[in-house]
Symmetry: C2
Subunit: 550 residues, 2 copies
């Protein structure tokens, strides 16, 4: 079994992101930059105390609790305040607004922590029998309401925390395949693989807390997915439990034996089954990692350069291209040291060109491979008019790559709406999608910044950051209006409603745009087969039909 | 629209492979080699005449025929003898045994040729109303009974020939995406793409006749799929019609919007819906193509070298490694010219090593890319003890790459059982899978030869060729015994029952081994949603439950 990374299941802040011991600092010059654009910020306001969070009495009932305790052990059925509040929400903006105010929309009646596949299956059978809704909970980092405790028509709800399903169950080094328990956290997995000279390479911004099962269930993409592939590319087999069935799809490099059912479970967000094991493609640990910056002469020129990188199979493992707004924001917020100097210098050399655009690229691998790939990609960028900024902008990005969610908490405390959203489309539609979404968001927020990331031969993703002043007392509706405008613009311009955040609850209004009514019918048929009473993660992924619960 | 490649829908031989005008020659030295192993061959026996094929009266009924004619036009509803017999079978060994004898197990009551998606949808609605089974028919090249006209509990059956759904519907050059009508033949598509400087690169052995929709519906792999990806990697969007619904899944580079439903339709073999359009990833046309040969010092050493190629991302686009038996067969059958000389020379230089193994590898792309990749791969092979044989063995393979199915007809005519089957597994199990299947087959056939092809980071496929004397009067049962032994050995050793031939009817006994009863339940639920009366390709993909039709 893999060593645990030392992250006990309840360690994240219940009212915000991450490690309670970690304090993020917003520099004074950054606060000044924000105030200039959003108006004066409010003084930092702390969240309510845990004791003051509004919490309905736990509704599980003693008989069911006893039966669940008989499966997982009494100490692994928790209904204490901290456990219930930590599992009351994910980490999306509306989640944090509600949690900070001590007003979660609901909370699980208990948190149940099974140890393995068989315990998961037994818990699901019991919940199915008793009519108890189940929210599978991995790292709890969903930003789309994926772990919201919506009980639907069920009288009670448990959060099924998978933290104890931890470790490498089987390592086939010759085939570069690792069978991993679904609750294993990404850093713990990398540490365990590292002892064999191997790595996975899946590094979403939520890396420090995510579970591998959660990444598969949401089709996560990581910051290096341009190089290593998305999580759905890395999963070659899986095991899942559902009230109606148990699925065991062995790892295999490829097959023509019918539809690929693995692809039906990946992205099912806990609505069709609970992933308990994933077989992951691993690779030799990278000898070197190198990040660096370039300044591109403009947004559309930058997109063209990135398209050329992808289509010539020269895309770096990490590839981000900021639009002019994000470039200026990076420049303003970059601190006052060498990074800012290099950025500013590069930016200034672009004078006369409308809006220089910052690119951060990164390579991992063996020394010779990185050298060769870097040389070819740099040459292509150079031909596209890029100015090399050296390593400092890349290093600055890498240093702060997991810091942004902590900063968001600081901004929320100061009355700032800070949100991100993402989409993807084909290269031919990318610039127009960017324009349409930026225009839609500009009506709701003074700061709208974006970068291209995750390059594919046929297209790429766009990742937007939005900053506005909170409208006090109207925070949730304000967010809803912004989200609705962005989603409609995305779908209207041919983008997918989500490239790597998943559907959850927040993207339900656009799910029919993604797969059509026929696609929804197919997903509902799969759900009826695997989860006939609908206890698995109600209210997520599948929009309700008029007059009927989802 | 793409130009047609000049292949009218009914052009393949009804009793064998391919172009009726093409005659394959079996060289005398090859016949002698066969006779030495199988015993004396019988003198060539022609198939029965078309007029003598046993055919039940067409059972469609005038009313339904009229309704179908109203949709597609009278001339596109055919119930003439030739049309019915051509569509009575695919190109598997048992198919051809039956067809040559003039004893098809059944034939469609009519062949219907719709022009586009809407006509397909209308035909399906009419057949659903009338209770008529429908067998979607692309190139008709299935070797697993995929187009067998099994009507199940339905009173009549049509073959839905998609040949008129032909051409490129939309070409997005910037995104390297082509939306293609599902009936388009591979050579016609390559010709049309070539006029734009583009290519697809999907080249199965059946290349000259396959349709792109058929390749997607069966998860086809091509000879260059190690480089370009399997058909399921190349499809980024699709459109399908079913009696219960129409699916339109737009091309997108990636998405986290729920399960990937495209992956449910790919591999569904016409049982869930009829693919009418596929959005395919295309790429710049290759400037150069280079095939060459190497002699590896042994089978397991060769597998290790191929594994290293794949895991170091150095795999050639085409990569085949013959086991000692196939190597000797290639050497014996290679003719008497320069190819044989080079092969024999390389083989002899391996003396003292148990069983030299022939590798054929190929690269495509721009001049510099091919040079660099070839250099790196050759160096790796050299370190593994490979002896370079130069271009002639590669050229010889490339010249005859589409010839083998024609040769099979010549062997069948001479009383030879000639069959191929394929599987895939992880690298760590590959040698044991090879051994187990070879042993199982050896009990049924004097010649069992195999090659590794289709390299992945985590594993590879094995492709077996089997030659035996037909047992006159018992041909079908003889084949059934051999097939059963091979399938049981494959599944027992952890292989997939098919890497690229699909399930069809012939692999039904092992489908539960692939996906489990829970997986079958999921597929049946999908079928009930899309095809509630079960008219689509009955008796394929989904094994019947005890006492119930599939």
């Amino acid at each position: 079994m893999a060593e645990r990374a030392g992250l006990p299941p309840l360690q994240q802040r219940w009212w915000g992101w991450g490690d309670p011991a970690h304090v993020a600092t917003v520099e004074p010059h950054a606060l000044a930059w924000l105030a200039e654009r959003l108006g004066d910020l409010t003084p930092p306001r702390p969240p309510v105390a845990l004791e003051d969070v509004r919490l309905a009495p736990a509704a599980l009932g003693e008989e069911v609790a006893d039966r669940l305790a008989a499966i997982v052990g009494r100490e692994h059925v928790r209904d204490d305040r901290e456990a219930r509040v930590v599992h009351a929400a994910g980490k999306g903006y509306p989640d944090l607004i509600r949690q900070r105010a001590g007003e979660p929309e609901a909370a699980p009646d208990a948190v149940v922590l099974p140890a393995d596949h068989d315990e998961v299956a037994a818990v699901l059978r019991e919940c199915d029998r008793a009519g108890v809704a189940v929210v599978p909970f991995g790292g709890g980092t969903s930003v789309v309401g994926g772990v919201a405790p919506l009980r639907g028509e069920h009288a009670a709800l448990i959060s099924l925390d998978l933290a104890r399903l931890d470790g490498i169950l089987d390592l086939d080094e010759a085939s570069q395949l690792a069978r991993v328990a679904a609750g294993t956290r990404a850093p713990a997995l990398e540490a365990a693989l590292g002892r064999h000279g191997l790595m996975l390479g899946h590094v979403p911004q939520s890396y420090e807390f995510v579970s591998v099962g959660g990444c598969a269930a949401t089709r996560s993409a990581g910051q290096a997915s341009t190089g290593y592939g998305r999580m759905d590319d890395l999963v070659e087999g899986l095991r899942a439990a559902a009230p109606g069935a148990e699925l065991d799809l062995a790892a295999r490099p490829a097959s023509a034996a019918g539809p690929e059912l693995r692809e039906l479970l990946m992205g099912s967000e806990g609505t069709l089954g609970v992933l308990t094991e994933v077989a992951l493609r691993v690779r030799p640990r990278a000898e070197v990692t190198r990040f660096e910056g370039f300044m591109l002469p403009g947004w559309e020129a930058g997109i063209e350069a990135f398209r050329a990188l992808a289509q010539h199979e020269l895309a770096p493992d990490v590839a981000r291209l900021s639009d002019p707004a994000e470039t200026q924001m990076s420049l303003a917020l970059a601190g006052t040291g060498g990074v800012k100097g290099r950025l500013a210098e590069g930016y200034l050399r672009m004078r006369g060109v409308a809006g220089g655009c910052l690119a951060v690229v990164g390579w991992q691998g063996d020394v010779e491979g990185v050298r060769a790939r870097r040389e070819d990609a740099s040459a292509l960028l150079g031909r596209a008019g890029a100015v090399a900024l050296g390593r400092s902008p890349g290093r600055a990005w890498a240093r702060s790559r997991f810091e942004t969610p902590y900063l968001r908490d600081e901004l929320l405390a100061r009355g700032v709406l800070a949100e991100t959203l993402e989409t993807a489309t084909t290269w031919s539609r990318l610039a127009e999608l960017h324009r349409a979404v930026a225009v839609a968001l500009a009506a709701h927020a003074p700061v709208v910044a974006c970068h291209v990331s995750h390059l594919y031969a046929t297209g790429a993703s766009l990742y937007f950051t939005i900053l506005a002043r909170q409208q006090a007392g109207d925070e949730l509706d304000q967010w809803q209006r912004l989200k609705r405008a962005a989603g409609d613009a995305i779908v209207g311009a041919g983008g997918t409603i989500t490239h790597h955040h998943a559907i959850g609850r927040d993207h339900l209004p656009w799910m029919a745009d993604e797969v059509g009514e026929a696609g929804l019918g197919l997903l509902r048929a799969a759900k009826a087969e695997l989860d006939p009473r609908g206890i698995l993660n109600p209210g997520k992924l599948l929009p309700g039909r008029p007059g009927r619960p989802a």
